[in-house]
């Protein structure tokens, strides 16, 4: 492989490897990692012979070059992803994978799922990229079978992996200090300390403080039919401020044929909620305080053909919402969620090409709220999964079956519980196939079928007045057929080429939707009435070029086509304005992204582009609901310096270079051109 030639050039090597999954294994042998973890191979190296459908992945230099602050900003670059972004540094950001809805996305942080039993949504804007090494996205599930039962449970899965400590020979301590500053009054210092504690154990501590005023200019403009300005107004986004502290600590250990890790995560923030910009209202006063704490641990060990994996987690999330607006309903509510989770996964290799696995997970969730008539729900979830993989020449197959048993308890008075009649007991299967039709394995054909569901959240079921305890789970069925071509080249400028195309058909049944019901004018009720059918195509290519000595160009382009149609109400079938068959809200037909990075010696220049095509904010696809396309161009320039054996990095970013004024969500204006500077010093 050609990477052997450039192994000595650390940066090039790193960038290349991070772009190409094929080289993940090579890197681990090339670099002097003290922790060459088995976990790396199984969970993250997608071409290790166990994964049938590889992930989309962002990591290393490419991730750094994206001028993103949070995980949410980076995830936009994946094919098939729509980010619902309410704007600004502190604004809510949730992802929708292949139009299946936010609640069908599973987000895993260092191997354990982040969950939110209250509303099912993970705000990815809260997860800083500062301590993140890679982000991977799988549609369906990771087709590796040595994993917790929860990993089989979502319709699309995002794995966020924090940085692992790696030490150069003779070094026992790595320190990195960083500072980001820029538009929106952003100031964001961070510190990372890695310590080798013993031959087999290392630790990390990562801390970050972020503060931003969240102020930015936005502009709304309308024209007359002849193109002259009808109205044009510019204002400053208010109440988008944020102050957040994140502290994370981790221990990483190795043992014979195994490894373990433990971590603690703490996040504390106060933010303003900027709200919708409507006629005569240009500012809002809502505040939100979040305090998230979790501690988790995992252990993995092999005994010959048998492998055991154990995960455990405790989470406590506190949310305080205040709406002090003196002209509206005064709201001051506190919600506290707790979760305990334990998982045991067993994996056994029956023969060289045939593996089986059994996983059992248990989870307990509670929600406390100071709402009137609240029912204090508690939920027990038991999951089990059996799975097998089989390899037969150039054909590989995986099948899994997940059993989910959920039971809720509720009470009008804390302390006195009544078991509800409803418990959910479901089986959901998945099948993955992949075939290499060519001898050199450059081309693969893969297919999968997967059924999954999401439980109604505590808010759906029990939120005072609107909750509906009769709700059934919401199901997602996916069919995917794709091709994958990857090849490395020796002699041409093009060194690496990877192309993927996946066509898919998804169906969402029993979709949980809020429907106005009852005698009041604004009485809502959650109902299982939605149905969506999605046909889509994701195409992506990744190329790496070396046109001259010391010059490297990496180019990634993604394109997504989605026809996501609403089949909820057969009576609403007016050909012009009916919602029956209409494209669902906020899903563009066409979307895409491009990332181009050039590196030359210590210099790096990165360009990234996001395109979201025309869409409607309602499945009635009429002009009044139409939203224009938006697209942003971001640029960043980076320089590495060697300062007496230590490494310093300076980067300047300009985002939304063309200063496009746009909304992702109706009436939530996004920032125009903005700047950021990053300093980093590693020693």
């Amino acid at each position: 492989m050609y990477d052997v030639r450039i192994r000595g050039r650390r940066m090039l090597s790193a960038s290349l490897c991070l772009l190409t999954c094929a080289m993940a294994t090579a890197r681990q042998t090339a670099e002097t990692d003290s922790v060459v973890s088995l976990d790396d191979v199984v969970v993250w190296g997608s071409q290790n012979g166990k994964e049938i459908v590889p992930s989309q992945r962002l990591s290393g230099k490419q991730l750094e070059g994206l001028s993103s602050l949070s995980v949410a900003d980076a995830i936009r670059y994946f094919a098939g992803v729509q980010l619902k972004d309410y704007g600004g540094v502190g604004g809510l950001k949730t992802v929708d994978l292949r139009s299946m809805g936010t609640n069908h996305t599973g987000v895993f942080y260092d191997g354990v799922q982040l969950s939110n039993a209250q509303n099912g949504q993970i705000d990815l804007g809260k997860f800083s990229l500062d301590n993140v090494e890679s982000i991977s996205l799988y549609y369906g599930q990771k087709s590796d079978i040595c994993q917790p039962a929860k990993d089989y449970g979502a319709s699309g899965t995002i794995y966020i992996r924090t940085r692992r400590p790696r030490f150069k020979p003779g070094k026992r301590t790595n320190v990195q200090v960083g500072l980001k500053a820029g538009s929106f009054g952003l100031i964001d210092p961070s510190l990372r300390w890695e310590q080798q504690l013993s031959e087999h154990v290392s630790s990390t501590l990562s801390a970050e403080y972020m503060h931003a005023t969240g102020k930015y200019k936005f502009r709304y403009r309308r024209v007359l039919h002849d193109g002259t300005t009808a109205w044009d107004t510019t204002a400053t986004r208010q109440n988008g401020d944020i102050g957040a502290v994140r502290v994370e600590g981790g221990l990483f250990g190795r043992m014979t044929d195994g490894q373990w890790n433990a971590k603690v995560y703490f996040y504390n923030s106060e933010r303003g909620i900027p709200g919708a910009i409507v006629n005569n209202v240009w500012t809002h006063g809502q505040r939100q305080w979040d305090r998230n704490f979790f501690t988790q641990g995992s252990l993995k060990k092999a005994w010959g053909r048998y492998e055991l994996m154990v995960h455990g987690k405790y989470t406590c999330d506190y949310l305080h919402y205040l709406d002090p607006d003196t002209t509206r309903l005064y709201i001051d509510n506190v919600f506290t969620q707790q979760e305990a989770y334990l998982s045991v996964a067993n994996h056994y290799s029956l023969t060289e090409g045939w593996d089986v696995a059994l996983s059992v997970d248990y989870q307990y969730n509670t929600l406390d709220a100071d709402l009137a008539n609240f029912v204090y729900p508690k939920r027990h979830t038991l999951l089990w999964a059996i799975a097998t993989t089989y390899e037969w020449g150039r054909l590989r197959a995986m099948a899994s079956l997940l059993g989910t048993y959920v039971t809720d308890k509720e009470s009008r008075h804390p302390g006195r519980m009544n078991e509800t009649a409803d418990c959910t007991n479901r089986l959901t299967p998945a099948v993955y196939l992949s075939l290499h039709p060519l001898r050199d394995r450059a081309l693969s054909v893969r297919a999968f079928y997967k059924k999954a569901f999401r439980m109604p959240t505590f808010n759906d079921l029990y939120y005072t007045d609107i909750g509906n305890t009769a709700l059934k789970p919401e199901f997602a069925t996916q069919y995917n057929l794709g091709l994958h071509y990857t090849k490395d080249f020796r002699r041409s400028w093009l060194k690496h080429l990877e192309a993927k195309a996946d066509g898919y058909y998804n169906e969402i049944d029993n979709k949980i939707v809020a429907i106005p019901k009852g005698s009041g004018q604004y009485r809502w009720m959650m109902m299982n009435i939605g149905r969506v059918k999605i046909k889509g195509l994701d195409v992506s290519t990744q190329t790496v070029w070396m046109p001259a000595k010391d010059w490297m160009l990496a180019l990634t382009v993604n394109y997504t086509y989605q026809r996501a149609q609403d089949y909820s109400d057969p009576t609403d079938n007016d050909p012009e304005a009916g919602t029956w068959g209409g494209q669902i809200a906020y899903i563009p037909w066409h979307s895409g992204s491009a990332i181009a990075g050039i590196t030359h010696r210590g210099w790096g220049l990165n360009y990234s582009f996001i395109y979201v095509g025309e869409r409607y904010h309602n499945s009635s696809n009429i002009r009044a609901n139409h939203e224009e396309p938006w697209y942003t161009h971001d640029l960043s320039l980076m320089r590495d310096f060697n300062v007496g054996g230590t490494k310093a990095t300076v980067a300047i970013e300009c985002n939304n270079v063309l200063n496009q004024q746009y909304d992702v969500v109706l009436n939530y204006p996004m920032p125009g051109r903005n700047w950021k500077m990053k300093l980093k010093w590693e020693f």
Partner: protein, 405 residues
């Protein structure tokens, strides 16, 4: 597929395909001010009241009617309060006339239209979440100005003054952020608030009769401790003189020509159902009640057209009644003024109005609050004449015409 027919001699192929794909997609264009859409829906009609058929004491007192305006509320935060107009002479319905009449108003009409009225030569629209009352010319819908009143709800007019209910009074002392509501008195000549009078919590509709203002207090922000009173305000002194206890969570009220005031309660959504009450204005006490769920109503002559939805946990559906109450007899005379089965296709009835001259009945369907709604027109026998797509949450209708002096 082209992307996959790649060989090492043409490594650029896939990149070119990708670029070609990206060129399929469109660029962002300037957004035009929303232009009206006119559709032919009804018959061509000339609606004139012959002098000898003039209804004595009829609230409306119309000599002729040319059309009506419909205010679509728009879901909260969507800024989609829009104004539609139906023209009888041509039988055409025009959606979204505000932008065309007022192309220079930033962010258009506003967020959540809550009430609509014509007084004198002007059209008034209460835009609840934009904290204003939009004042327009009643013929052209051209903007004249606005009255800023936070969280404004309903309006009535009397001798050159507009009376507006608002939820946003001062925070009551000794309570946990409870805010009393108030009625603002606005001079329609200057569009200035000249006086305010405190009421109960979260006052909704108001009615002027007998030299007094009656205000339905809802207490909607105090769940589950709703208000249960009507405030009585003396017009001369503009002070609250008493409260009439009725039922929990009052909403609309309307005076008839027999000295009675009709009030509906929303109930508490748990044990106390929605109901209709009749207050005798001489004794200022509840004189009668009718056991029917009422979400909204419209009074025409002696007929109070009501609709009401009550949630059933058995069917997981709303059970809807479209009824008429004879206010003279204080009796429910029909529970289905829609007679041809059209009620089956109405998902969320949201407004009811009757043309005072033709007696055609208009019912709006707000559906799921985010999809465009529908306006249904029924003849006086309750048979559907036509229906038309509206904006989001079609709700409030006022007739445009000439009145007797």
């Amino acid at each position: 597929m082209g992307v996959l027919k790649i060989d090492t001699r043409h490594p650029l192929a896939c990149v070119l395909v990708m670029i070609a794909m990206l060129t399929l997609v469109a660029c962002r264009k300037d957004v035009e001010v929303f232009l009206p859409e006119t559709v032919q829906v009804g018959p061509q009609e000339v609606i004139v009241q012959p002098d000898d058929e003039r209804e004595e004491g009829s609230e409306a007192g119309f000599k002729s009617i040319q059309g009506f305006y419909l205010l679509n509320e728009g879901n909260m935060g969507s800024n989609k309060a829009t104004l539609d107009y139906y023209d009888y002479a041509t039988g055409t319905y025009t959606r979204n006339i505000y932008g065309n009449a007022n192309p220079n108003v930033p962010k258009e009409m506003g967020d959540v239209g809550n009430a609509l009225a014509i007084y004198g030569e002007r059209l008034y629209a209460v835009i609840n979440c934009s904290n204003k009352i939009e004042v327009m010319d009643r013929r052209t819908a051209r903007r004249i100005g606005q009255v800023e009143i936070p969280n404004c709800r309903y309006i009535r007019f009397h001798e050159g003054y507009m009376y507006v209910t608002s939820y946003a009074g001062p925070v009551a002392v000794g309570t946990e952020h409870k805010q009393l509501g108030y009625v603002a008195k606005v001079d329609t000549a200057t569009l200035q608030v000249v006086a305010t009078c405190l009421t109960g919590y979260q006052p909704d509709e108001l009615e002027i009769a007998n030299g007094k203002i009656y205000v339905a207090n809802s207490g909607g922000y105090l769940t589950p401790n709703y208000e249960n009173t009507v405030s009585v305000i003396d017009l001369q002194t503009f002070t609250e003189e008493k409260r009439i206890t009725v039922a929990k969570n009052l909403h609309h009220l309307r005076a008839d020509r027999h000295g009675q005031l009709w009030v509906n309660s929303r109930g508490d959504y748990y044990t106390e159902p929605s109901k209709l009450y009749c207050i005798d204005l001489r004794t200022e006490q509840v004189a009668d009640s009718i056991d029917v769920a009422v979400s909204n109503f419209h009074l025409d002559g002696d007929s109070l057209y009501i609709y009401g939805a009550s949630w059933s946990y058995l069917t997981m559906e709303d059970e809807v009644t479209y009824g008429i109450v004879d206010v003279k007899k204080r009796q429910l005379v029909t529970t289905n003024f829609i007679t041809d089965g059209t009620e089956q296709s109405i998902q969320k009835p949201y407004g009811v109005t009757v043309n005072p001259l033709t007696k055609d009945i208009y019912v709006t369907d707000a559906k799921n609050y985010v999809n465009p709604g529908t306006l249904y027109c029924f003849d006086k026998e309750g048979r559907k004449k036509w229906s038309v797509r509206t904006g989001d949450i079609p709700a409030h209708i006022v007739f445009l015409g000439e009145k007797y002096e």
